[in-house]
Amino acid sequence: MNDTAPDDIEILSLPISLKEEAFSLGKGIAEEVHNKVKTYSTFAIERASLRLLGVKGANEEGVPWVNIFIDKCAREGKLSRGALFTLGEVIISNGKTLQEAVEGVATGAIDLGTIFPQDEKKVKELMTSLVSRSIEDLLGMRRKRQEMIDSLTPGEKPLLYVIVASGNIYEDVKQAKSAAMMGADIIAVIRTTAQSLLDYIPYGITTEGFGGTVATQENFALMRKALDEVSLKLGRYIRLVNYCSGLAMPEIATLGALEGLDIMVNDAIYGILFRDINSTRTLTDQEFSRRILSLAGITIVTGEDNLIKTVDAKEMAHTVTASQLINHHLALLSGLPPRLIGMGHAFEMDPSEEDSFLNELAQAWLVRELFPQSPIKYMPPTRFMTGDIFRGMVLNAAFNLIGVMTKQEILLLGMPTEAMHTPYVQDRFLSLENALYFRKAAKSLMGEFRLREDSLMRKRAIEVLNNGVEVLREIKGVGLFEALAQGSFAEIKRPLKGGRGLEGVFAKARDYFNPFLNILPGTIISRGTNYGD
């Protein structure tokens, strides 16, 4: 997000020592993960590196050139020192351009097995210059986008986020523009079901999908163009969201950077738990992805809302907090400044329980106060939406009120038809009308109140943070990977060697070469380099 975080948000007066312990545990857990994943690379990271250099396209069957190239490198044993090194050798020995070299290897016109070793220094110089140029290009695009954003009004907080999910990018475009005109600030294009399990990026403009629309570079570009048009028309900047998750996570991050996305849902823990992606694979992918997103100035939002969709949201609220504390520090280690780290959570407590509203309010304040410099993404009720659309509107109104009162920055609007079907065009109107009312009507409301000494809301928030710290201690004891294997989150167990995509992980050789790793922002805390400001 581009504005300063909301000020004057202290209301809970959380014990400082408890907060410090929570952050210190999160830091410790994240550092251990970070140190481990730094020793690995993955097929997806190597492919993303090629895409960052500008390699595009797919063969006649739609298999991307980068996939074929990386698979061939792996077969020839040329991956552990980095695909960019091999690519440099191919370019020099064959006198080809970047794209020609990748396609040549992919089609078999160039045989990797017969490439003569080239002078190491020459290869490295060539590839480093190509990488520097692509970074310059990306920064140039970022500056251009920032100029456009600065020329428009940013929209009021909380920003109102709606989804489109027709499966057909052309229908999505119409619905997105309609939503923007009715007041939406953020448009997310939901991905087609199970795209996260594809170990590649599909190619081209697409008009069919299941439960969503295929995320492709071409679809991204089409939607970005449409939203830019509507932004200029409205004088208000409309943000675009997609999902930087799943097996192709680093490549999606690259496409997001290239095509001007503003926000990406990005959370390896979600992939591990709910898509059964191997933990080492996706945490390694996430590290690289976040460095790209940081360079591009894209805000991430994490997926903790999912942790409480299948368990009792009140009982397990502390797991959300614990996960956020880990995720936040992991993001810092990957070079994202706090204002680009959106923390996710949700309104999912059983509404039939007494004081569920109070507990939701406490939870929302807790997240807000723990991460004062970060945008908070608040997800609407889904679990207790029943098909009674009228009652659904009541729950969504309660959600909107809390969102406004607690200064959540990104409100993902609930639809009255949640649990029935992907939104109809009028559902977005009804939801936006609901949220717009509260954004205006309750704008200054919370500033009027201070909590009483024996506040139930404070008591609840401290209880959740205490339990979160308890969980973090346990995780710290065994490490995040083992904790995931034991089922510390959402009662789901994911063993270290299980899950999808493990075969695409490799240990970096001593002479591993990838200049992006030196240039992309990362571990800003120690290096002091930060493109994000």
Binding site: F210, A419, Y424
Partner: protein, 266 residues
């Protein structure tokens, strides 16, 4: 007797309708809305609210009075609501009459990644205060999670020697849920297991009728509580039991019997 919607007077036929049109809000748009509502059989339609949605769309809320009615005679007799046994009764029956734990394998199949439904039924926590099947001492539950290929589910059914298969399908575009569910039945039939397991499906678009039509023993729609599913399982198994099938339920269920007929009787 003629049955009509009731607003505030018998047989006034009062209905409320809302929809969008791919037309901008204009006199043409409103006329289209009114004509469509009249074609639905609604007299005197009143557009109480309309709004332009941008991009050539408009939204209408319409009230009116339905001219149609139905004869009460065609409604037949009320089918009694299924009596749901409670947690204690279910566990007692299984312990006393079956004498061993029943094995349940659950999953969402195909490309469907939505586990909300299956988790609500299986996870110990359950749904809306009703405990999930994992918490029943008389069930052994294997929740395989999401996006399980039907072939894998079948393998697990064999590995675990399951008594019950529970599948959830949420995604419904282009009827993919029916395709996935049918494929599973065919696989189970193909491996000669169909008479040995109870097959149950669930999801927002699943009804009892649909489930029976595509070859399942039962189907559960939205808002189903775990106890309703557990209750069905135990009743179905007890039913076979009372018909004189002794010993292990699995493998000795009556062959070739059409479940559609059976279902209606209990």
């Amino acid at each position: 007797m003629e049955i009509k919607p009731y607003g505030d007077t018998l047989n006034d036929g009062a209905v409320q309708i809302s929809f969008s049109l791919p037309l901008p809000l204009s006199t043409r748009g409103k006329k289209a809305a009114r004509e469509l509502v009249i074609k639905m059989g609604i007299m005197d339609p009143r557009i109480v609210f309309s709004r332009d949605l941008g991009e050539g769309f408009s939204f209408y809320i319409v009230y009116g009075n339905l001219i149609h009615s139905v004869e009460s005679e065609i409604l037949g007799e009320d089918i009694e609501e299924e009596v749901t046994l409670d947690y204690w009764e279910i566990n007692r029956l299984i312990e006393e009459k079956i004498g061993r734990k029943l094995v349940i394998v659950g999953a969402t199949i195909g490309s469907d990644a939505h586990t909300v439904g299956i988790d609500a039924i299986l996870n110990a926590k359950g749904f809306a205060g009703d405990v999930g099947l994992e918490r029943y001492p008389s069930f052994t539950v294997h929740n395989l999670g999401s996006q399980v290929p039907p072939e894998t589910l079948l393998e697990k059914v064999m590995d675990y020697k399951a008594d019950v298969i529970l599948v959830s399908q949420v995604v419904t575009q282009k009827n993919s849920h029916i395709h996935n569910l049918t494929q599973l039945v065919e696989l189970v039939e193909g491996s000669a297991l169909r008479d040995k397991v109870i097959m149950i499906c669930g999801g927002p678009y699943i009804s009892r009728e649909l489930a029976l039509e595509i070859g399942y023993d039962a189907g559960f729609g939205p808002h189903t509580l775990p106890a309703q599913v557990a209750s069905f399982i135990v009743k179905r198994i007890m039913e076979d039991y009372q018909e004189g099938i002794k010993g292990c339920v699995r493998g000795e269920r009556m062959k070739g019997r059409t479940r559609r007929v059976k279902w209606k009787n209990w």
